[in-house]
């Protein structure tokens, strides 16, 4: 089948994925941890550096491809999904990783991200969300929380931030997941994204230590991990705080609420079992107010649909079936006539 292009596993190590370029992020930037997580994950996927392409826009995060010893294309601001679309349609065998930032992918590039998700092109989209414009020195971004002071909002931003995962769902994404830079679970999330056939959207909270330092510390710090992180697992109850708390669905008002779990009896507490195919719950999970709830992490939604490139290529194949690429015939399509070489230039014959 056209669509199933499971590549042969290749043996590599983390080292094989490191390019010879000096890494140019600020010391301490969360990007380093993500880079390592990716470089650690790829060997486990049996990925082939020659068949792997990292595509990015512009931003600190978008420097990513330079540091991978695969193929890489650092394009222009916000348009990486469109470049990736062309690459994938031209060669569906390539494994595409799209690296973008909250500015690159959600501000200038929001529309391409949306249509890329809607079309469902098999690939992994890693959105490094540091809630700030790093590369241009700290302006607020569409994901910055209300009140964020920045050079362009000296008195604090006033627009409501967008929620990348809610946006992705609204755009029709079939895979939505979340992680953060230093999380030990990040490789698992990346693997799930890779396993998903279609566009897999992964929001990675990332610490910009220069312009938005520790913005996510309130849930990423070790000390609060238990109470502030809810790691989702398909088929398992939504528990956190070492299993002493969970999320329950309030069916009257249709929202999620926190319940205490006594003696591990989550059924009694009516804790919801995570179903990665439940779209309604996915909506609720990604819209949970961060202040009042633990942050839902891991694979929020995973319900594959046919990919765009698969459909395009299948249609191309059908269209080509039995047809020959005969230029002479193509040129002569439609009504033609022949001028004979006879001396008097006539008569003409209609062919």
């Amino acid at each position: 089948m056209m669509n199933d292009m499971t590549p042969v596993a290749v043996k590599t190590t983390l080292k094989d994925w490191e390019s010879d370029q000096e890494v140019r992020w600020c010391p301490g930037c969360g990007d380093y941890a993500i880079l390592k997580a990716v470089q650690r994950t790829l060997p486990e996927l049996g990925a082939d550096p020659a068949k792997t392409v990292f595509v990015s826009g512009i931003g600190c995060s978008s420097r990513f491809p330079y540091y991978m010893s695969s193929y890489g294309f650092h394009t222009i601001h916000g348009r990486a999904p469109a470049f990736a679309t062309g690459i994938k349609l031209a060669n569906p065998e390539l494994d595409i990783w799209l690296v973008t930032g909250d500015g690159d992918g959600m501000s200038i590039g929001g529309n391409h991200t949306m249509h890329f998700l809607r079309r469902n092109i098999n690939s992994q989209i890693l959105l490094f969300n540091n809630e700030i414009y790093g590369l241009t020195k700290g302006q607020y971004s569409p994901t910055s929380r209300e009140g964020t002071p920045s050079p362009t909002t000296p008195l604090g931003s006033v627009d409501r931030p967008m929620q990348p995962c809610a946006f992705a769902l609204g755009a029709g994404a079939r895979f939505v997941a979340r992680g953060f830079d230093t999380s030990k679970n990040l490789p698992e999330v990346l693997k799930a994204a890779h396993a998903h056939q279609g566009a897999a959207f992964v929001e990675i909270f990332q610490n910009c230590i220069v312009y938005n330092k520790d913005r996510f510390a309130d849930f990423t710090e070790k000390a609060v991990a238990d109470t502030r992180q809810l790691w989702l697992k398909d088929g398992e109850p939504m528990l956190f705080n070492k299993g002493t708390q969970g999320l329950r669905l309030n069916t009257d008002h249709l929202h999620l609420e926190i319940v205490d779990v006594v003696d591990g009896d989550w059924q009694a507490a009516d804790v919801l079992v995570h179903d990665v195919k439940n779209r309604s719950v996915a909506h609720m999970l990604v819209e949970l107010p961060m202040a009042d709830f633990p942050v839902a992490l891991g694979v929020v939604y995973d319900d594959p649909k046919p990919t765009y490139e698969g459909a395009v290529l299948a249609q191309d194949e059908v269209a080509r079936e039995g047809k020959q690429a005969n230029l002479a015939k193509l040129f002569a399509r439609g009504q033609t006539w022949t001028v004979d070489a006879a001396e008097d230039q006539g008569p003409l014959s209609n062919v």
Binding site: Q21, Y71, F73, G86, L89, L94, L330, Q335
Partner: protein, 631 residues
């Protein structure tokens, strides 16, 4: 010393014919009616019959930007003009000899162009009070004597059509739709054209609704018969336009949009590449996307993107991945692509960008023609971002230009802009169907092994022409990274140190400048290589300049015609060539854009001759300019 240049199969001294003369050399007919009257279709079919009759011809479709403007309005008038003759024809003609006006609005909008003493054919059935009002006529012009200086042939085509199709029991609306076939029948009679090809075409078109085929054929025959009968009297005679001398071979008619589509496919095949076409609909560029969407068997993948930026980005992505990336738009959409073109220049990836120019600025005149995007093509990017630009001069020429654009793009690893315009795109002319065997293939060879054994691959190592290798991702062992930031020579590693930027800017410029030596030398299309006056044109003004120069030379005036295909870089000999004329005039459908390039590059006193009305130059306008310049 001046040398005589071959002016084609031109019969020097021929003049546009007159309808009153039974054997004119060329005749211009304009069909005009409501958008709903099917004038474009009528014109198209008349064109085919004319081509089959062996005449040379050129056409000019002119339609409103409204999809279907309300019936009878002035802005809803759609027109189709054809110039055909027994001699070479290269414009759609200045002034019609015959105007077919299917309603009052069509008459009003088109009358001013009609040649003095020309023939008007009008459908009295449509000159109702309501339609006259809509056309802002206070009295019926068919009746108030205001048309006295023309020949008027007015009769109730509507009623005659209804009568002809009565046997088929169509509804009134459907029956009236056959009016255009009735009119076409009359026109075929007038110019002594066979009906059979049309009958075949109607039978094919309405294969699923034979009743409609029959009705339309009946209308066609009725119109034809009307001409044969005494009813027209002595006003109009049957005219015979002899076939034009044509090289033997297979012919068809072709529009510019068709020609570009075929040229791209041919170019990709000659380069032995699959083609990826990323587009976003816009008038008048969409036709190319529509055409290519139907040519998948030639390894073509088309992609309707979410906008023009995505369209070019996807095309660049496809080129990066080893396809021939192509994108196409019109001015406003090309504007959006500028940033991405810069990336293609910087990354040095092949790409063909087609601009089907239309009237500007801004949304401007979407369905009218203009050549006002030349500045944008040559200069319209940030940074020092040189890019080859090619301009097609006619529908048939567009085919060759498309192949040339592909060739330059892949041989020089560069984006190439191909300029065409709404006039070329929509107009049709006879095309001698080429034999694909006759083309020189230029197969691309991707790098398959490192160019630096023992070291890292060098994706930006230039060859003697300054061109880097093309490496397909997926190729083992050649992994590398590219992007839009300045880079070191050879390795392509990020490097924006001062000497490197100087070196790379110079290298990019030298590569593109050097193309001047890899394109054909500029020829003089008509006239002599030195002399008193040269008209230097580009793009779709070709036909009008050609005829104007022909007429002027016939009068003994020392004027030559140079038509430039390679707008940037220009052919290496062009500067010297231009210096051989006392005067240089650059006729353009803009406010003087190509003249800037010529003056800058060659410091010749090129004088602009500009027209920006959304209409092509007439031959007469150019003749007048020549005479004034030589007076």
């Amino acid at each position: 010393m001046a040398t005589q240049v071959d002016a084609g199969q031109m019969d020097v001294g021929s003049e546009a014919g007159r309808v009153t003369d039974n054997t004119p050399e060329t005749v211009v007919v304009r069909f005009a009616g409501d958008s709903g009257d099917g004038m474009q279709l009528t014109g198209g079919q008349f064109t085919l019959s004319t081509a089959l009759a062996g005449n040379d011809l050129a056409t000019f479709p002119d339609f409103p930007s409204e999809i279907r403007a309300p019936q009878g309005t002035l802005f809803g008038v759609s027109a189709f003009q054809i110039n055909f003759g027994s001699t070479e024809v290269s414009t759609a003609g200045d002034q019609p000899d015959v105007l077919v006006a299917m309603n009052p609005a069509a008459l009003k909008v088109n009358l001013a162009d009609l040649k003095p003493s020309g023939l008007i054919i009008a459908d009295t059935g449509e000159f109702t009070k309501r339609n006259l009002e809509k056309a802002k006529y206070e009295v019926n012009p068919l009746e108030d004597g205001s048309l006295a200086k023309w020949t008027l042939l007015a009769f109730d085509i509507s009623a005659l059509t209804l009568q002809a199709v009565k046997p088929f029991g169509l509804g009134n609306k459907e029956a009236l739709r056959c009016k255009n076939m009735w009119t076409l029948g009359l026109a075929l009679w007038m110019f002594d054209r066979p009906r059979q090809p049309l009958i075949d075409w109607l039978n094919a078109k309405f294969a699923k609704k034979p009743i409609l085929a029959e009705a339309n054929i009946a209308a066609l025959n009725a119109g034809h018969a009307y001409g044969e009968t005494a009813e027209i009297g002595g006003q109009v005679k049957k005219l015979t336009i002899e076939p034009a001398p044509q090289a033997p071979g297979l012919y068809r008619t072709i529009t510019g949009a068709d020609a570009i589509s075929l040229g791209l496919v041919a170019g990709a095949q000659l380069a032995e590449l699959p083609m990826f076409f990323g587009g976003y609909p816009i008038t008048p560029a969409s036709a190319i996307l529509h055409n290519l969407a139907k040519m998948k068997e030639f390894g073509v993948t088309t992609f309707q993107a979410e906008d023009e930026i995505a369209a070019i980005a996807a095309a660049i992505g496809a080129s990066y991945a080893g396809s021939l990336g192509v994108t196409s738009s019109s001015g406003p959409g090309i504007a959006l692509k500028g940033e991405a073109m810069g990336l293609a220049v910087m990354a040095e990836l092949p790409l063909v960008i087609i601009n089907s120019q239309r009237g500007g600025p801004s949304t401007g005149l979407p369905t009218k023609t203009e050549q006002s995007d030349l500045y944008q093509a040559v200069y319209g990017r940030n940074g020092d971002t040189p890019m080859p630009v090619i301009a097609a001069r006619s529908p048939a020429d567009a085919f060759e230009c498309a192949i040339e654009a592909v060739r330059l793009a892949v041989q020089f690893m560069t984006p190439v802009m191909l300029l065409t315009d709404g006039y070329i795109g929509n107009a049709a002319e006879p095309w001698s169907v080429p034999d694909p065997e006759g083309f020189e293939p230029f197969p691309v060879s991707f790098m398959s092994e490192t160019n630096n054994p023992g070291g890292k691959v060098l994706p930006y190592k230039r060859d003697e022409k300054g061109v880097r290798p093309w490496i397909k991702p997926g190729t083992p062992d050649l992994m590398h990274r590219i992007g839009g930031i300045e880079k070191a020579p050879d390795t392509g590693d990020l490097d924006y140190s001062p000497p490197v930027h100087q070196l790379q800017t110079d290298a990019r410029k030298a590569k593109v400048d050097g193309i001047a030596h890899h394109v054909p030398a500029q020829e003089v299309s008509q006239g002599t290589t030195t002399g008193k006056l040269a008209l230097v044109g580009w793009g779709s003004t070709y036909g009008a300049i050609h005829q104007a120069v022909r007429r002027a030379r016939a009068k003994g005036l020392d004027v030559s015609h140079i038509h430039v295909r390679h707008i940037w870089p220009m052919p290496a000999n062009l500067g010297d060539l231009l210096k051989g004329y006392d005067k240089v005039i650059v006729p353009e459908m803009n406010t003087g854009q190509f003249k800037t390039v010529l003056r800058d590059q060659y410091l010749v006193d090129a004088k602009p001759l500009n027209k920006v009305s959304g209409q092509p130059f007439t031959i007469a306008e150019l003749e007048a300019a020549i005479e004034a310049a030589l007076a």
